[in-house]
Symmetry: C2
Subunit: 391 residues, 2 copies
């Protein structure tokens, strides 16, 4: 098919973290208005809003988040929809927006995500997150995500050898990157020993192997590239690839726990559309809900051969500077934070910052092609996008 090219022309995000004084409305207002201002366009050009949110209904009694965001941002009668696919909710909003703009239906669309989590107690947050799996077959019998990903880590050790040090090194690297990102929730460097000594969550995971509970919001303005050139003076970052795939929701049904079929299929679609290979990617925001997840994903995205993800981390191949592909220069879910429904959009925020050359002290040198990778649940949903400055 002859799709229209789609680009990102504006980005905005809040500081990520524990933000007790800020409501969902406050977070949406800040990030949404920042993205529109960054694009330098009049609000009246925005024709639709796609809004990623995972679980404000359980955590904050708030559904209908597309409509809420449109009201907060003064967008009146435009069509809105909330997309949800667990931790991939934000990227799903972008995926649907890309399809709608590609098709010619809309020229300019706002895409956002927001989540408010830190005001609830640990049990409530854990129950809310567990709804990303199958309640009947998993959560109701005590299967939570740290336990599933601990099982995945142990299985990975069995199939490919012990990767404990590499997992800890993922945490160390992401915290080092996060320390350079003013929006990151965690801004201190940590050591391997600190990861090992962390509170045990589910063996082999300690608290430092786990992503964070975070309040935050991120928005981007997306436009048909041909239209973008007429309405903005901002650098135009083209979405050259888009992919979306799924897998069984329950861990028990999956063909493999150490190779994520959804990542492989979504990446294949995105690479094919973009006409690039994994070796062309300069930087990638990769879903690191747990340290083992990042390692597996960097293999399934084709950056490293299967089983070689751990070695890649330990030999500096994922480093922000001097590596083969800079993984999570923002700090990732691990250090920047994981405001679930906003995460996929915040990944785009980072990639656009890097491709514009505006990432300041955390700038990846010679960043030409960037990728975002976002999974939901036990890799039951995966969305991949690839970006490059428009010609």
């Amino acid at each position: 098919m002859n799709y229209r090219s789609v680009s990102v022309i504006g980005i905005g995000e809040t500081k990520m973290g524990r933000l007790p004084d800020r409501s969902l409305r406050d977070l949406i207002a800040e990030a949404g208005n920042a993205a529109i201002a960054d694009a330098g366009i009049d609000k009246s050009l925005i024709q639709a809003l796609y809004m990623g949110n995972f679980n404000a209904q359980y955590l904050a009694f708030q559904g209908h988040m597309g409509s809420l965001a449109a009201e907060v941002l003064g967008l009146r009668n435009i069509p809105t929809v909330r997309t949800e696919g667990a931790c991939a909710s934000g990227s799903l909003a972008l995926r649907q927006a890309v399809i709608a703009v590609q098709s010619g239906l809309y020229d300019v669309v706002l895409v956002g995500g927001a989540e408010k989590m830190t005001h609830r107690d640990t049990e409530t947050v854990t129950t809310g997150i567990a709804s990303a799996g199958d309640f009947e077959l998993e959560a109701s019998v005590g299967v939570t995500f740290p336990s599933v990903f601990a099982m995945i880590a142990n299985r990975y050790f069995y199939e490919y050898g012990n990767a404990r040090e590499a997992m800890a090194a993922v945490a160390v690297q992401n915290h080092a990157n996060g320390a350079l990102n003013p929006d990151a929730q965690m801004q201190k460097e940590i050591t391997l020993q600190k990861v090992y000594d962390g509170v045990k969550i589910s063996d082999p995971l300690t608290v430092f192997d786990c992503s964070l509970v975070t309040d935050g919001s991120a928005f981007i303005v997306v436009a048909a590239t041909e239209v973008a050139k007429k309405i903005t003076k901002q650098k135009i970052i083209e979405i050259i690839g888009s992919g979306h795939a799924g897998d069984y929701i329950t861990a028990a049904q999956k063909e493999s726990l150490t190779t994520f079929a959804a990542t492989i299929n979504a990446a294949k679609e995105a690479y094919t559309m973009a006409k690039v290979t994994p070796q062309d990617i300069d930087l990638a925001e990769v879903h690191d809900c747990f340290t083992i997840t990042q390692i597996i994903n960097t293999e399934d995205l084709g950056f490293f051969p299967k089983g070689k993800g751990p070695e890649a981390v330990l030999t500096g191949k994922t480093a922000r500077v001097g590596g083969v592909v800079a993984i999570n220069p923002s700090g990732g879910l691990k250090a920047k934070g994981h405001p679930i429904g906003a995460t996929g959009i915040s990944q785009v925020f980072e990639v656009v910052k890097q491709l514009r050359g505006e990432a300041g002290p955390r700038q990846v040198p010679n960043a030409k092609i960037g990728l975002t990778h976002n999974i939901g649940g036990t890799a039951a949903t995966c969305v991949v996008h690839i970006f490059r400055e428009a010609k």
Copy 2:
């Protein structure tokens, strides 16, 4: 733009009602497999799943419903997304599916909706439904939907004269239609007096002015019309119009409480695309969360002049047989039931049944063009689709 034509080639739904022995998985399996069987296609042709659900996260601790449905239906690695826009969640799934098939990205897509509500107590269900409004500004201070729509009814009386009898007549008519629908939750006819004598919910609404709390699921198979002709022997019902619009989420912000801007704008988009006028519509499934809502919507859809909706009901113009336009031949949300995330898809089920001429005792005579109208929250989201048998 030169969009591809999109059609419905298969439909399935469960019986609607209080179904204590059936889980979300059970409901999805029945309706989803029925739709695929009705299309007579092999599952392997389905390339994506769009899933409407309003609030299983709060009511049943279940998110990630697209992925869940794909697993239940054995659809493996296809991309899935849940759409949510309060009571319009199901129609939003169809809207996104239509855009994706129009664009050429997918040829065959499954679209579903499901909701499980009756297992929770009244307070929990009310809190869950209230998340369709603004929690901070409405629900948290006690504004629930019956109170908002009672206010709308009173305002309507002030602007256009007392419509109490017409509201009761809406309930009577929808119950009479529901009595002919084997899938309907309520299958008994009622009288005007019974409506007046019902338990007061919020003046002037009695319990008989309110839609139901319902468990249920509905699915449809959607395909590019050019592809549909090659893969199914089923009658092909083309989606000739699609419209989607929004409005402020909070009642307080709206320009009018008695004219729904989202309905007007969504209908305009759908009529324009379909190249038909309101007078061309033979039957319409119209969002009747409360009896007053149906009256206002039949005006805003252009079936009757503003303020003349009550008279239209009282003079038989909305009757299934012998009227101007048959409104809610299924029984509507009022009698068929309102399994929130499934409602928009169940509306399509009914329109397709009618246009195929398969509606049995409730068949609308000479049904050629049908319309579905679905709103979310205080008419803050609206989706309209128009259907006709493909040439």
